[in-house]
């Protein structure tokens, strides 16, 4: 049976991906504000066939990582280890975000005439498996979720500038920023600083094509 969430997610398209970040219109506005004759609005920013292949590879990788996050939260919630109601509620909320992100990238992959990837990233899942299979308490679940959110946030940053369609960078960071917020909240639950450094790095980023 089709649920409301299912119907909502099915409406996610490449157009929506662009609208989320406001990538096209707002970029042109800034160019106009700052000045300079080199208007991006007049350029083809889609990167052609090679660009589309690159974008499909990145979209499939992002989809796979979002599914890892869904698996992580589902496993954590099912384990019964999340005994603090507020923490369990947060886990449910974050899982719903990742479901929506995954659907977004799967829909965009389809729009780019690629095959959507709806499995968890095998490379990342293999790395996380020891912890996933041994979730004993709330701290363990939150700590694992923090690792996953960090991988996601840094991966989104890593995609900026790598897309064939340059306008996708904005949309990707609209998701990346949301993942960073998740990571900050989980860090606080663990008594760690929400913003541990002035700049986010990419040392935990997953390279496009890895594990898909």
């Amino acid at each position: 049976m089709e649920t409301e969430l299912g119907r909502t997610l099915a409406r996610v398209t490449r157009r929506r991906f662009l609208q989320i970040g406001g990538a096209v219109s707002m970029g042109a506005v800034l160019t106009a504000c700052i000045g300079g004759g080199d208007s991006k609005a007049a350029k083809d920013t889609t990167g052609g066939a090679e660009g589309r292949r690159t974008d499909i590879r990145i979209m499939r990788t992002l989809s796979s990582l979002e599914v890892v996050a869904v698996v992580t939260y589902t496993t954590g919630l099912d384990s019964g280890a999340l005994t603090t109601p507020a923490v369990a509620d947060l886990a449910k909320e974050f899982r719903a975000h990742h479901q929506e992100h995954a659907a977004l990238f799967q829909g965009t992959t389809r729009d780019l005439r690629g095959t959507p990837f709806d499995e968890p990233n095998s490379a990342v899942l293999e790395r996380l498996q020891p912890e996933l299979g041994d979730l004993r308490d709330e701290t363990g679940v939150v700590s694992l979720a923090l690792d996953v959110e960090t991988i996601l946030a840094e991966t989104y940053q890593g995609t900026v500038g790598a897309f064939g369609d340059k306008s996708f960078s904005v949309a990707a960071m609209s998701v990346g920023g949301a993942e960073a917020r998740h990571a900050a909240a989980l860090a606080r639950i663990l008594g760690q600083p929400a913003a541990p450094a002035a700049f986010q790095g990419t040392q935990h980023a997953v390279q496009p094509g890895t594990g898909v």
């Binding site: 042109a28 946030a153 900026v160 960078s169 904005v170 929400a194 002035a198 986010q200």
Partner: protein
Amino acid sequence: MTQASGDAGIDAFAQSVELALAQAYQELASTGKVTTPAAVDTTTTCATHHQEHARALGDAAGNSAASGPNAKLVGRFRTLIRNAPDESAALELALGLENKAASTYLFVLGSLEAPEALQLAASILPVESEHAVALAELLGKDPRETFPTFETQDQALKPDQFPVP
């Protein structure tokens, strides 16, 4: 004054915003309205990060670097700070600034061209989002207000409204 164009101009604009944010935190601290240790700690960290962002953006802007904080923003922030009656209002103000900063980086990402400029903006945006979470926690905000499914450009500060000094 004509604003610099291209990536350098955008970096200069972001630098002027960061300097204005750093100054806002400084002024917030000087009012004595933020007193609880956790709030002092968080706002001090935010201020330090904004100074670091401004330095990096100024370096990236090179000869086009802003000459100081964004004057129009400083004026606007100053009024808001003056009107904040207590710590809670001051933190609410700071939360608004951080959400605006995150939104602004999403906005500028649409126009930056060089990989280095894109990566610098993309490395700062998540940190502004983290600041917002830290401040929202201090305010005891409902998660639905703190965790959007997607960051948006809705609150972005724009150079036509806040020109680079």
